[in-house]
């Protein structure tokens, strides 16, 4: 079981059920996860594809989408930030 967090505008379109998804066995990496999400929610998939995206796994930024997903991971999808 993983925990997904959708921040900012992603949170407006992400279905609630995606927060704690039951992932099929062939979703092994972050790239797999992104593709699986797009299949579950095409509007969210289009937004993720069109937005400069940062990912954090267990609260650390990750560049490499080939990174494997592990049970218990908290994976956050971060749209462009707008602090200050």
């Amino acid at each position: 079981m993983v925990h997904l967090v959708f921040l900012g505008k992603f949170g407006d379109v992400a279905p609630d059920a995606l927060a704690r998804p039951v992932l099929p066995g062939d979703v092994r990496t972050l790239a797999d996860l992104k593709a699986w999400i797009a299949a579950q929610s095409p509007p969210l998939g289009r937004m993720l594809a069109a937005t400069p995206l940062r990912l954090a796994v267990n609260q650390a930024l990750v560049q490499d989408l080939s990174q494997p997903i592990a049970a218990g991971d908290e994976i956050a999808f971060l749209p462009p930030m707008s602090g200050g």
């Binding site: 900012g8 949170g11 954090a56 956050a76 971060l78 930030m81 602090g83 200050g84």
Partner: protein
């Protein structure tokens, strides 16, 4: 005193915070500060308020990481950052960045460059409400240019 980083939903008094920051610090010759406020209009559109979302835990840690980088780079021992999250009304302070140093140059530079970093790299998401509804704000091209320039400046 070191780094004091606060991400909070309560309103705060930036001038009172600056006074407290420098109190008892006769070793500091300079305090520089910046306060960002919520405006009531942007690009000709009325703004009735902002909502700023954080990523609990991560936001505080990332701002602390950026502040530590700036403190080391400019040789500033004391930095204060207060950033509001949640609902903010026009006229309220959104962010305070303040630095104490022996002489003015380091304090000025640290505040300016840390603000440039926060604009594009602090994990915060700002939604602006107006008469036509609410919309998420993304960094402007100008913010990215300042961030890129801040990498090498001073």
């Amino acid at each position: 005193m070191g780094l004091d980083i606060r991400v909070q939903d309560r309103a705060f008094d930036p001038h009172g915070e600056c006074a407290a920051f420098v109190r008892g610090r006769a070793d500091a010759g300079a305090l520089a500060s910046f306060v960002g406020y919520c405006r009531d209009e942007t690009a000709g559109r009325a703004v009735t308020g902002l909502t700023i979302q954080q990523y609990e835990g991560f936001t505080q840690a990332e701002i602390a990481r950026l502040a530590a980088e700036i403190a080391a780079r400019f040789g500033v021992g004391d930095l204060l950052v207060i950033h509001r999250v949640g609902a903010i009304a026009p006229g309220e302070a959104i962010v305070l960045v303040a630095a104490l140093s022996v002489h003015r140059a380091a304090a000025f530079d640290a505040v300016r460059v840390l603000m440039d970093y926060l604009k594009t790299d602090a994990p915060l998401w700002k939604k602006e409400a107006g008469p036509d509804g609410a919309r998420w704000i993304e960094p402007r091209g100008e913010d990215h240019q300042r961030r890129a320039a801040a990498e090498t400046s001073a």
